[in-house]
Amino acid sequence: MLAHAILSGLVFGCYFTLVGLGLNLIFGVMRIVNLAHGDVVMLGAFAAFWLFALIGLHPLISSVIVLAAFALLGLPVYYLVVPRLLAARDSEMLSIILFFGVQQIIEALATIAFGTSERSIPGRVLGRGPLHVLGQTLPVAWIVSAAVSLLAVALVYLYLYRSRVGTLTRAVMVSRDEALASGIDVHRVSALAFAIGVALAGLAGVFSPFMLGSATPAMGGDVNLAAFAVIVIGSLGDPRGTMLGGLIYGVALMLMQTYMSAWANLLPNLLLIAVLLVRPTGLLGRQVRRA
């Protein structure tokens, strides 16, 4: 039972890394808190659901469409909202208030459009039968979701650490002022990071029916809580920390569900409080800022 909890926890950890990655990328580059992140995940889930329900589109194909569509959606949202936010004196606090409002609007509109019913996509769509991994049995849908998540994380890593624009992105993460002084087109780099962050949230949404059980318009709040727990554990603003935070969160969640299932829903709150009290810099050491 312990081995199964740990193994499935690692699989879920990969997925939760994806859930937190976009939020952390946006925070790391722009120092704004996208409280609507969970609702973007929800929109990705509904996009995948409707594409499957209406035209029978496979979720793996939907994931490519969602990735591209959400990235394109992110660009105008960035230029509409973020430059004004960044020009404000306390952009972090202002972003929390603004994106809280955006979150409420998205949830309300989604509830009107989709109703409150839970929607799901059968797990067998991603592959039939369980898979045997290291002597444990896991659903194929979990493995596929984790594999796609890992691929996305790897691509983000390559973008940040192996591409020219990725180096510029990390420079903005290190110091926005120095980046401006060095002639980096900070808005272009930030817009790209914002688009990627939104696209990653949408991608996480596509696989949420398989990993979280179903999709509802109200799921954004819980997803946000998990995403915040993941990035605070790993270190705010550090994409490498997100992987660490995701794995710790996934394993802890599965251990709780195995041994103390009634308390499992409290886990994100408990982890957030514990990390902020014991090591507010996160495990990789970057200081948690005012946000």
Binding site: T167, A171, M173, V174, D177, S182, G183
Partner: protein
Amino acid sequence: MAAELLRADDVSSGYGKVQVLWGAGLAVEAAETVVLLGANGAGKTTLLKVLIGLLPAWSGRIQFRHEDITRLRPDQRVRRRMAYMSELGVFPGLTIEENLRIGGQFAPPAQLRARLAELFETFPALADKRRALASSLSGGQRKMLGIAKALAADPLLLVMDEPSAGLSPLFVAEVIAVLRRFRGSGLALLIAEQNVAFLDLADRVYTLDSGRIGFAGTVAALHQEDALNRAYFGLG
């Protein structure tokens, strides 16, 4: 007479509602070294930030090679071969090579490779640590990296904000020695400083006092007119 590179006329600016610069103006000619002297809080950094585009000019005009650049973004000014070295000067969380690549971000790949090789030859201490994080360097080495990073942009004008800040006298002498090597290479320098040791490099000097240019002229004239005392102590 050498060609005029940078000209700022009657520039006023500040932060929020606080005005820091009051009609400041200066000019830098090609291949010339100009030192902008002033005490702490005189407005040197503010003036440099306006020149490079990090702060908007409330009024006045800035020209670079006779083109009005007053409303251009910092990246557009860097593309016109105007580089800026801030007090921080480097990205501590990136490697030395990454810092240099950012400095030379607008160069074609082959040209950037050649420029990096040239810079590593000029700064051999950096070449040995090219994969190390800038945060692992000493204060003096970071300053050298800051200079190298700015030079990677292949600028016609390098604008420097207090290159002596946080350095011991020994390292200040080293920074001055490095900058001296670039005099006569065609590179123009505009150095904002409160350390008078940099006057050794200067072709011309401006003093800034409470956001206003107090003196403009040669180093010899500066000493004759006792402008240093006025700039630092408000005397005279």
